[in-house]
C-alpha cells in the first residue's frame, strides 16, 4: 500500500516536472522573437506592478475619506484624477487592479491547463468509457449558458474571486480537452508510443513520459490564449458586480465610472484608464499565445511573410543566382581550369 502510494507520488512528481519543463525553453524562444519579446516585457511589467503595487501607487486606492478631492481632473498630484463619488485616486486604483486581473487570469489559465490536459489525455489515450464520459460532459457544458450560470452560482455561494475562478475552470477545460484529445489520438499511433507499449510500459508511464511532452507545446500556447480570454471574462463579471465587492478590479472600476457619472460629466480618463489596463494585459498574453502558435506552425507564417521578402529581393542578386546554374558557366569554368592545368 505504502509502496504503491510512493510510486504514485513519484509519477505525479514526474508529471509535474514534464508539465513545467517546456516553459523555460519556450520563454527562451519567445524572447528571441521580436513580437514575443513585446508580450513578455509587458507581462513582466504587469507582474512587477502587481507585486509592488503599494510602492508604485501614490495614494491608498481604498481611501474613500478624501472628501475634498472628489472628481478631480488629471494633474501632477493625481495623474488620472480622482473618482467623482468617493474621491479615490484613479491611477492608484489602476495599479492595484493589475492584481485581480493577473491572479484570476494566471490561476485560472494554469488550472485549466491541468484539467484540460488530464481530461484530454484520458479521453484520447485511454478511450473507451472514459472518452465517452468526458466527451459527453464537454457537449453538455457547451450548451449551458456560462454567464447566467455564473450569476446563479455567485448568488448561491456568495461573490468572491475564488468562486469566479472555480466557475471559469469548471467551464474552461472543455475546449482545451477537445484540442488535446485530437492531438493525442494522433500521437497514440506514433511509433515511439507503440514501441513503449510493446515494451510493456504502464499506461500512466506512457501518458506522462510520452504523450504529455507531445502535447506540451499546444498546452502552453492554449494556456496563454486562455489567460487572455479569462481576463476579459473577469472584467465582464466584475463589471456586472459579481466579483469580490471589496477588491479593486478594472471591470469594477468601469462599472463605478458608469454609475458614478463619468459619462455624464465627461471624465473620459476614468473610463479609458481601466480600459488600457484590460487591453494591455489581454494583448500581452494573446501576443505570447499567437507567437507560440507561429513557432509551432512555422509554415503559416512563412507563407504570409513571402510577400515582404519578395518586395525586398535584389534583382541583380537573383540574376547571379540564375546565372550560376547555367550549363555554360559550369562548362566555362571547367574549360578555364583545364587550360590552367595544361
Amino acid at each position: 500500500m505504502k509502496k504503491k502510494l510512493y510510486h504514485l507520488l513519484k509519477i505525479c512528481g514526474e508529471g509535474l516536472k514534464r508539465f513545467f519543463r517546456p516553459i523555460g525553453s519556450f520563454i527562451g524562444k519567445l524572447w528571441r522573437h521580436p513580437k514575443g519579446r513585446i508580450g513578455l516585457i509587458i507581462v513582466g511589467l504587469l507582474i512587477l506592478t502587481a507585486i509592488f503595487a503599494p510602492l508604485i501607487a501614490p495614494y491608498d486606492p481604498y481611501d474613500v475619506t478624501e472628501r475634498a478631492s472628489k472628481g478631480l481632473s488629471p494633474s501632477w498630484n493625481h495623474l488620472l484624477g480622482t473618482t467623482i463619488t468617493t474621491g479615490q485616486d484613479i491611477f492608484s486604483m489602476l495599479i492595484y487592479g493589475t492584481r485581480v486581473s493577473l491572479i484570476v487570469g494566471l490561476v485560472t489559465g494554469i488550472s485549466i491547463a491541468f484539467l484540460g490536459a488530464i481530461m484530454g489525455i484520458l479521453a484520447g489515450y485511454v478511450g473507451g468509457l472514459a472518452d465517452t464520459f468526458i466527451m459527453r460532459t464537454v457537449d453538455i457544458m457547451l450548451v449551458i449558458p456560462t454567464l447566467p450560470l455564473t450569476i446563479v452560482l455567485t448568488n448561491l455561494f456568495g461573490k468572491s474571486y475564488f468562486m469566479i475562478i472555480f466557475i471559469f475552470v469548471l467551464f474552461g477545460w472543455t475546449g482545451l480537452a477537445r484540442v488535446i484529445r485530437s492531438l493525442v489520438l494522433v500521437l497514440k499511433n506514433a511509433n515511439y508510443v507503440k514501441a513503449a507499449e510493446l515494451a510493456g510500459a504502464s499506461r500512466w508511464h506512457i501518458m506522462i513520459k510520452h504523450i504529455l511532452p507531445g502535447v506540451s507545446h499546444l498546452l502552453i500556447m492554449n494556456t496563454a490564449l486562455t489567460c487572455a480570454g479569462i481576463m476579459i471574462a473577469e472584467a465582464g463579471l466584475s463589471f456586472l458586480g459579481l466579483g469580490d465587492p471589496t477588491a479593486i478590479s478594472w471591470g469594477k472600476m468601469l462599472a463605478d465610472a458608469q454609475s458614478g457619472g463619468a459619462l455624464l460629466f465627461g471624465h473620459w480618463w476614468w473610463i479609458i484608464a481601466p480600459g488600457i489596463g484590460i487591453f494591455l494585459s489581454v494583448f500581452s498574453f494573446m501576443r505570447i499565445g499567437l507567437v507560440m502558435e507561429e513557432i509551432l506552425n512555422p509554415r503559416m507564417k512563412q507563407s504570409s511573410n513571402i510577400y515582404k521578402i519578395f518586395k525586398t529581393l535584389n534583382n541583380n542578386y537573383l540574376e547571379e543566382v540564375f546565372e550560376s546554374m547555367d550549363e555554360s558557366v559550369i562548362l566555362g569554368d571547367f574549360a578555364e581550369k583545364e587550360e590552367e592545368i595544361a
Binding site: V143, P145, P148, L254, G266, F279, S303
Partner: protein
C-alpha cells in the same frame, strides 16, 4: 444525409437536454435541505416561527412538500406542457410569458449583430485572403489583435460616452417608451433602429473582425489544398476556382463558428443590454438575480440551453449537408 445519422443526432440532442434539465432542477437545491430556504432566504428581523410559516407557505406554493423525485417528475411534466415555472414578481406571471415578452428585443440586437458581422466579415475576410500579405491583410490582422483584446462592453462604454453624451447623436440609454409604444408602425421601427444603433455597433465591431479573420484563415487554408491545384490544372478560370472550389470548402469552418454564434444569440448580450438599459433577456436575468427570483432564473437558463441545443443540432445537420464526409464519420 442518411436517415440513421439524423435520428442519432436528434436522440443525442434529447439526451443532452435531459441532462441539462436534471442539472437545472438541482442547482437551486445545492447546499440547502429545503429549497424553500433558497426561494425565501431568512431576513434579519424574522423570528424562527415566522420564518417557518413562510417556508411552509412557499413549500406549498411551489410544490416542495412532496419527495424530491416527485418534485422532479412534476417539474419535467410541467416542462413538457410548456410550463417553465412561475415568477416571484407581483402578479406571479408565467416565466414563459416573461421570456416571450423580452426575447424579441434581445433578438433585435443579436440577430442584427450576427448578420452584420457575418456578411461584412465574409467580405473583408475574402478580400484579405485574396490580397494576402498585402496591406489589406496586415490591416485586418492588426485590427483583430486589437479588437480581441478590447472587451465589447468597454467599446460600448466608449461609444455611449462619445456618441451618446458628447455628440448626442444616439441615445446612450434606451428610451423606455420604445418597448411600451411599439406598434409596428414605421415610426416605431425607426425609434428601435435609433436606439439599437450603439449596442449593435459595439457588438459587431468585434464580430466583423472575428468573422473576417476566420474567413481569411479558412480561405487561405483551402487555397493551399491539392484539389485547388487540380482545379487549376483542369483549366478552370480564376473565378471558377474561387467560387466552385475554394469558397464551398472554406464555408465549412465558418459554419461551425456560425453555429456557436447562433447558440449564443440569447445569452450573449447580457452586459451590453445592461449598459444601454435594453429591455431584453439579459436585463430580465439580472433583474431576476437582484430579486432572488429562482424560478425565473432557472427558467431562462433552461430556455437558453434548449435554444443552444437546437442551434447545435441544426448546425450539425447543415454541416453534414455541406460536407458529405461527416455522415460516415470520417472527418469532423
Amino acid at each position: 444525409m442518411q436517415k440513421s445519422y439524423l435520428i442519432k443526432r436528434i436522440l443525442y440532442a434529447i439526451f443532452i437536454f435531459f441532462v441539462v434539465m436534471v442539472l437545472n432542477f438541482f442547482i437551486p437545491r445545492i447546499g440547502v435541505d429545503d429549497p424553500a430556504e433558497r426561494y425565501y432566504p431568512p431576513q434579519g428581523n424574522m423570528t424562527d416561527v415566522e420564518y417557518d410559516i413562510i417556508k411552509q407557505v412557499t413549500r406549498e406554493q411551489y410544490g416542495f412538500d412532496v419527495s424530491n423525485l416527485q418534485q422532479f417528475l412534476n417539474y419535467a411534466k410541467g416542462l413538457f406542457q410548456g410550463d417553465l415555472g412561475t415568477s416571484f414578481r407581483p402578479g406571479n406571471p408565467k416565466v414563459s410569458d416573461l421570456i416571450a415578452e423580452r426575447l424579441p428585443w434581445t433578438l433585435v440586437l443579436s440577430v442584427t449583430n450576427l448578420l452584420i458581422s457575418l456578411f461584412i466579415g465574409l467580405m473583408i475576410g475574402t478580400i484579405a485572403a485574396w490580397r494576402r500579405g498585402r496591406w489589406q491583410d496586415t490591416l485586418l490582422l492588426n485590427m483583430s489583435t486589437i479588437s480581441t483584446a478590447l472587451p465589447a462592453f468597454f467599446l460600448a462604454l466608449i461609444l455611449s460616452f462619445y456618441f451618446g453624451f458628447e455628440l448626442e447623436l444616439f441615445p446612450a440609454y434606451t428610451n423606455p417608451n420604445m418597448v411600451s409604444g411599439f406598434d409596428w408602425s414605421w415610426e416605431a421601427v425607426k425609434v428601435v433602429m435609433y436606439n439599437a444603433a450603439l449596442p449593435i455597433i459595439s457588438m459587431s465591431i468585434g464580430g466583423i473582425i472575428g468573422y473576417g479573420q476566420g474567413t481569411r484563415n479558412a480561405v487561405i487554408a483551402v487555397t493551399n489544398e491539392d484539389f485547388i491545384l487540380t482545379a487549376r490544372a483542369k483549366g478552370l478560370s480564376r473565378n471558377q476556382v474561387i467560387f466552385k472550389h475554394t469558397l464551398r470548402n472554406a464555408m465549412l469552418p465558418i459554419v461551425t463558428s456560425l453555429g456557436m454564434s447562433i447558440s449564443g444569440l440569447i445569452g450573449g448580450a447580457v452586459i451590453i443590454e445592461q449598459i444601454f438599459n435594453w429591455n431584453g433577456m439579459g436585463t430580465l436575468f439580472l433583474e431576476a438575480n437582484n430579486t432572488n427570483d429562482y424560478p425565473l432564473m432557472m427558467g431562462i437558463m433552461l430556455f437558453m440551453s434548449a435554444f443552444a441545443i437546437v442551434a447545435n443540432l441544426v448546425t450539425e445537420l447543415c454541416y453534414s449537408l455541406l460536407d458529405p464526409r461527416v455522415t460516415v464519420g470520417e472527418k469532423r
